[in-house]
């Protein structure tokens, strides 16, 4: 026991010393996505340049959200930098929880950030988070299977074509599913996918008076189409498949098409991980001719919670991690296909990057997304696969759980939509919108 106490006091003394010595150690919370893990590997480069040390807290996405939200809403100050998305940045920025990212250095060239990303991460024109990488969604398909099916993928397919092609490519005996799509519950998983699908079918979450719209025929059309498509040509158990599950299916050659985040393009074309690396083609996300495509807009971005004692060091880190130099560093070490995409205009003007097969389609997809005008009919909100209000994450997770129960065959489309309608209106009432 005495041993424990002395160890304890020793530990305290060391902690006290290290804060006294001005060497800053910043704590960064991040998600365990491939590009972030790669960034951790380059931390030494940052330390060499600035002298600051970095402590990483790497968590799975759901745990990270829960952890970071608790900390920031209670002003806990556990993290000097947190990784957040396009949904959180404007809301938290508006609440005054984030340090505005103004006064960034000239070299950083903030105007180089893709306009769509910059506006999505700003509130009232102030940037609150710097995009580490950005994405839209697009169709990734197997060129060999498409050829075998005797079809040709247009650059801008319709949902009807996707359905036809999926049916033609499906070969269940050989475990090839025509199309793999997200069905997993969670607003950022299946919730995001069904929302953009619904957008392309002319549906919307709310009308101008914040009334839920799940009782409208557009939602029923979209959901019915999705369920029929997946039961014809989807993989078994798609009700629990999210991004990672589908990625691994596609890499194993078990999907003919996959409509998902554009960042996945570099994973499916990487021969180290993917068995189909040289047989992947890309196309824009499908539509139904109503003027909106089923693609979203998202960025994983770095932000500084207000109340950190190490604002300067944190800013230095963000400038380093989201800079042009960082992109070049990764390109030099691991090739252009592996740099964080979708954040900077200059990347897409770089001839080296233009030769990457998915570069053009990624940029086209990002440009095709318009968060301030996401749906066919007018809506009172911004955001494509989400509605930029604080209540959305909770509501959409519950709604997507109802939908996932449909995918698993546990209830009908009508039942799910009725429940979604009731619970959304209830929550909006509680929040004082209606």
């Amino acid at each position: 026991m005495i041993y424990t106490v002395s160890r304890l006091m020793g530990a305290c003394a060391i902690a006290a010393l290290s804060t006294a010595a001005a060497a800053e150690t910043i704590t960064i919370a991040t998600v365990n996505n491939g590009d972030m893990i790669r960034m951790q590997g380059y931390t030494d480069d940052f330390t060499a340049k600035t002298g600051h040390d970095v402590e990483w807290v790497t968590l799975e996405e759901n745990v990270l959200r829960q952890r970071v939200t608790t900390d920031i809403s209670t002003k806990g100050g556990s993290f000097d930098i947190t990784t957040i998305g396009m949904y959180e940045a404007p809301i938290w920025g508006a609440n005054g929880w984030l340090v505005p990212l103004d006064g960034l250095s000239e070299d950083y060239d903030v105007d180089d950030i893709l306009p769509a990303m910059r506006s999505g991460l700003s509130h009232d024109g102030t940037l609150y988070a710097a995009p580490f990488y950005g994405e839209s969604s697009m169709v990734m398909y197997r060129t060999d299977l498409m050829e075998k099916a005797g079809l040709e993928m247009p650059d801008a397919p319709t949902w009807d074509f996707i359905r036809e092609a999926a049916a033609a490519m499906t070969d269940r005996d050989n475990e090839i599913n025509g199309v793999c799509l997200r069905g997993k519950a969670g607003w950022g998983e299946g919730g995001a996918f069904i929302t953009v699908t619904a957008n392309s079918f002319g549906a919307r979450w709310f009308d101008e008076d914040w009334n839920a719209q799940f009782d409208q025929p557009e939602w029923a059309n979209a959901l019915n189409f999705f369920v029929e498509l997946m039961s014809e040509s989807g993989p078994p158990g798609y009700a629990t498949n999210g991004f990672n599950e589908n990625l691994s299916l596609f890499q194993q050659g078990k999907c003919g098409m996959w409509i998902d985040a554009t960042v996945a393009a570099s994973f499916v074309t990487n021969p180290d991980d993917s068995t189909v690396a040289d047989k992947v083609g890309f196309a824009l996300a499908p539509d139904t001719g109503l003027g909106k495509r089923a693609n979203w807009l998202w960025a994983w971005a770095l932000a500084i919670p207000g109340g950190t004692q190490k604002e300067e060091a944190a800013k230095q880190f963000i400038e380093w991690a989201t800079s042009k130099e960082y992109i070049e560093l990764v390109a030099a070490k691991e090739g252009w296909a592996n740099v964080p995409p979708g954040a900077r205009t200059s990347l897409y003007e770089n001839p080296n990057y233009q030769s990457v097969p998915f570069a053009k389609m990624t940029l086209d997809s990002i440009n095709a997304a318009d968060p301030s005008n996401p749906t066919v009919k007018p809506v009172p909100y911004v955001g494509i696969q989400f509605v930029a209000i604080p209540e959305f994450a909770g509501i959409a997770t519950e709604v997507s759980q109802e939908f996932s129960a449909v995918y698993a065959g546990q209830q009908t489309v009508e039942e799910a939509l009725a429940k979604a309608q009731a619970l959304t209106n209830d929550a909006m009432e509680a929040a004082g919108y209606r």
Partner: protein, 276 residues
């Protein structure tokens, strides 16, 4: 209640028991095996059992990405600290309940157990706010205290059941001989209670080691134990079964080995003095 049986019967028993034992153990075995495969072999069809190219690659990838030793040390500190602290507080309480019982002893005991039924999620915000006020966020001390409080009822109860088995006459005799309360506890009670205390210590160490809600939510970088280590390997992008298996093996190996070596004490600990 060993009885003489034929060798045939014994062989049959052995076969059945071993099969069941292996089935129960299989998920752990499979995890350990998978941790030595490549990602491709981890999902190969048909599954490979033993005949694959054994590799340590996953372990080196995991170690490169996260500083395992720091997570391990935090886990040891938090689990060990909370157990020791809990024992210091619980021993006197259990002693007095066992040897000077009053009408309310059992009520107090059951009330203590009932505090364990508070749903942790429901009190996350209050506790988080308190931790910020007290400056305990992301400190090993803070977590040690919380885990001690969580497990204290179990510790008190286990010790109580052990102590109650110690015959009261011995204590009476010691008291007659003029032993002070302190000496009574130190020289008479403690030696008799050591096995029970050891079992309690073991069980609570395991419970604290495996606690995954508070350890995840009240830590960031400095005090994060192995439960946080695991949270960075669950469902990342791409194939991950082999790396997840390696991380899982690293997280459970210390406690598994410790548990196996101290099996006897633990078995006694798990009985809660329910049977003699």
């Amino acid at each position: 209640m060993a009885r003489a049986v034929t060798n045939n019967r014994k062989a049959l028993n052995t076969a059945i028991a071993w099969s069941i034992g292996l089935i129960i153990f299989f998920p752990i075995l499979w995890t350990i095996l998978t941790s030595f495969k490549t990602e491709a072999q981890a999902i190969s069809n048909p599954p490979v059992f033993l005949f694959f190219d054994w590799t340590l690659e996953n372990y080196s990838v995991v170690q490169e990405r996260s500083n395992y030793m720091r997570f391990l040390w935090n886990s040891v500190f938090i689990a060990g600290g909370s157990t020791v602290l809990g024992l210091i507080i619980a021993v006197p309480a259990a002693w007095s309940m066992a040897f000077v019982p009053s009408r309310r002893t059992k009520d107090i005991l059951l009330w203590m157990l009932s505090t364990k039924m508070l749903p942790a999620v429901g009190v996350l915000y209050p506790i988080y706010l308190l931790f910020i006020k007290l400056g305990l966020l992301d400190t090993r001390i803070g977590l040690t205290i919380v885990l001690m409080l969580i497990n204290l009822p179990i510790i008190v109860w286990m010790l109580y059941t052990y102590f109650r088995e110690i015959p009261g006459e011995i204590l009476e005799a010691a008291r007659m001989d003029g032993a002070s309360l302190k000496n009574e506890i130190l020289y008479v009670l403690t030696p008799m209670a050591v096995p029970g205390i050891a079992s309690t210590l073991l069980l609570n160490f395991i419970l604290a080691w495996n606690e995954a809600f508070w350890t995840l939510n009240l830590t960031a970088a400095k005090a994060a134990p192995l439960t946080a280590f695991i949270a960075s390997y669950s469902s990342p992008e791409g194939l991950f079964y082999a790396k997840l298996s390696a991380a899982s093996t690293m997280a459970i190996a210390p406690i598994l080995i410790m548990g196996w070596f101290s099996q006897k004490q633990l078995v006694r600990g798990l009985t809660f003095g329910a049977v003699k």
